[in-house]
């Protein structure tokens, strides 16, 4: 058993243990921190596979971006230290069964299958090679998806602003009559919600 094997199993334990704790922990803050460990373990996998660029992107985007975003939204929406509700027993049992059966079936199919590679000499996955092929307009370039993804990011950014912006209700400009008409309707909706909860 060489060092490479030991490192692989340590990383795998981090990834799977972190993932398991992230989906089962009852405290949402701990859940997010375990997700962080799992994502760092995955970045370790990429280093293990000599894909330094992907590993750096993983650390920057996931660990530095998404997990911090999730932590901020937890701060904004949860009181500190509250436990989440336990999942209903029936749903937990059936979900675990479905996941376990799917996992075993998929692992069996993978172990039965023989994968055939191209066997050609390796191309070094350096940032230079990646950038040159991604921005190339020749036959195997990835410039079109690159542009599409940049449009997607722009759309997501504008969408986030539109969704999360606090709309000031223009009550001052609206005539007083209409204001009186609108308010009771809102109250009724709130009452309906309350009765449904009970």
């Amino acid at each position: 058993m060489d060092a490479r094997t030991i490192i692989f199993y340590l990383l795998a334990a981090t990834v799977i243990g972190g993932g398991l704790m992230a989906v089962t922990s009852r405290k949402i803050f701990r859940s997010a921190v375990f997700l962080l460990f799992s994502l760092i373990g995955i970045a370790g996998f990429y280093f293990f596979l000599d894909q330094e660029f992907i590993a750096a992107v993983q650390v920057v985007v996931y660990v530095g971006g998404i997990v911090v975003l999730i932590l901020f939204s937890i701060f904004l929406t949860h009181g500190s230290g509250e436990d989440m509700k336990k999942p209903a027993l029936g749903r937990a049992v059936f979900s675990a069964l479905a996941a376990a059966i799917g996992c075993v079936l998929t692992m069996y199919l993978i172990s039965e299958h023989t994968f055939q590679g191209s066997g050609k000499p390796a191309l070094e996955p350096s940032a230079g090679n990646i950038g040159a092929q991604m921005l190339s307009v020749t036959e195997y370039g990835f410039i079109l998806p690159f542009e599409v993804v940049s449009m997607l990011l722009l759309a997501a950014m504008i969408g986030c602003i539109v969704i999360a912006i606090k709309v000031k209700v223009p009550e001052q400009k609206v005539m007083p009559k209409i204001k009186e008409e609108t308010e009771p309707v809102e109250l009724e909706v709130v009452e309906e919600l309350k009765t449904e909860e009970v």
Binding site: V23, L39, Q51, G65, L76, I110, P125, I130
Partner: protein, 103 residues
């Protein structure tokens, strides 16, 4: 035994179904989003492992991984905007309590 493709496929398979379990049991929108992140990451491990062990002469797996990471970031940002807006209107982010559009 040398660490090969199958090791990575097994780990990513386990991670995928951990994410599925979390997605099915959790009723809180933020934890469901976290489960989706786990699922997307398991897919990324698959792409990178296939690229490394089978098709090392190409970079396609790396490009797919990069695009998936980008889309996951956009998805997380939009989802969190929706969650915060939902919390502002309903004071809860539990999927059982928010059922205005259900009927």
């Amino acid at each position: 035994m040398q660490i090969g493709l199958f090791h990575f496929l097994f780990v990513s398979c386990a991670l995928f179904f951990i994410g599925v379990y979390g997605f099915l049991t959790r009723r809180n929108l933020i934890t469901m989003l976290m489960s989706i992140e786990l699922i997307l990451n398991s897919v990324n491990i698959n792409f990178v492992a296939f690229n490394k062990f089978l098709f090392a002469d190409k970079l396609d797996g790396i490009f797919f991984t990069l695009f998936i990471i980008t889309i996951a970031a956009a998805e997380a940002a939009v989802a969190i905007a929706i969650i915060i807006n939902l919390y502002r209107n309903y004071k809860t982010i539990d999927v059982e309590d928010v059922n205005t559009m259900k009927y």
